[in-house]
């Protein structure tokens, strides 16, 4: 019988070490992907624009003059 070198343990070791410490090229690739996915998640929310509740909230905020009056009143009490 021919001596057969098992490749399995060796390749397993390679994969194992690459998962613990990715080589620089793989690392760059992963980092690029991380950046893309992070921005994709973020930009999806940004692209939703301003929900009505916030536009309304900002429209309904008292004017600063009114606030100043309230503040003065509070301070006077």
């Amino acid at each position: 019988m021919k001596e057969r070198k098992s490749l399995r343990p060796e390749s397993a070791v390679q994969v194992r070490s690459s998962s613990a410490r990715p080589d620089p090229a793989l690392n760059r690739e992963i980092q690029t992907k991380i950046g893309q996915q992070l921005r994709a998640i973020y930009d999806d929310v940004v692209d939703q624009g301003v929900p009505d509740r916030f536009a309304e909230l900002l429209r309904n905020l008292d004017s600063q003059a009114a606030r100043a009056k309230i503040a003065d009143k509070d301070a006077g009490e």
């Binding site: 998962s19 992907k33 940004v46």
Partner: protein, 192 residues
């Protein structure tokens, strides 16, 4: 440089302040969702932020970046709430993707959920640093100001976040190798 920054506001007059706040809402929401992992809670945070900002407009310095100022308020509100309530129950799997404007394809949807899960596993300080620099478009200096820490601290948090994410995602992609059962067996430590 700051993609999200609506620019500096030069005065405190009502109209320009309202306009700047309105312009900041979309990125404030995105930041809030990344902090709380819960869309409803995030919107409440944004609302509290706008009210708090309006009530404390005197502490805003005209000519500085209003977006960064609002992010600081939101981040502090979240932190003080966080101490009280611990972390909000995250939206269930898929609920967030369902709410997305652009529905991801099935394959990228799985990838997207994996990424979001990995992101949520990061410590809060690393996650916020990564989002501010990597997605909101703030400089390291601006992010440091928002988080109330040194620039070097932000840099090391961002680096640790990237390294940890890479580890988490690498492990997941190995789990997803699929048909190579022998290889999977090696990783699961089993012999079948």
């Amino acid at each position: 440089m700051s993609r999200s920054a609506p620019g500096s506001v030069t005065s405190r007059d009502d109209a320009s302040v309202r306009e700047a706040m309105l312009a900041a809402v979309p990125s404030l929401r995105a930041f809030a969702i990344s902090l709380s992992a819960n869309v409803d809670r995030a919107d409440d945070l944004v609302q509290e932020t706008l009210l708090r900002a309006w009530a404390n407009l005197d502490s805003f310095e005209p000519g500085t970046n209003m977006s960064a100022w609002l992010f600081t308020i939101l981040r502090n509100l979240f932190r003080s709430e966080y101490r009280k309530r611990r972390r909000e129950v995250p939206d269930s799997d898929g609920a967030y993707a369902d709410s997305m404007k652009t529905q991801p394809e099935q394959a990228s949807r799985v990838e997207f959920e994996e990424f979001r899960e990995a992101l949520n596993k990061l410590p809060a300080d690393q996650r916020e640093a990564l989002v501010l620099v990597g997605a909101s478009g703030f400089s390291y200096e601006e992010a440091a100001e928002i988080c109330g820490c040194a620039v070097g601290t932000i840099k090391s948090r961002v680096n640790r976040a990237r390294t940890r994410l890479a580890e988490l995602l690498a492990i997941e992609s190995i789990e997803d190798l699929g048909p190579d059962r022998e290889l999977r067996a090696v990783f699961s430590g089993g012999g079948n």
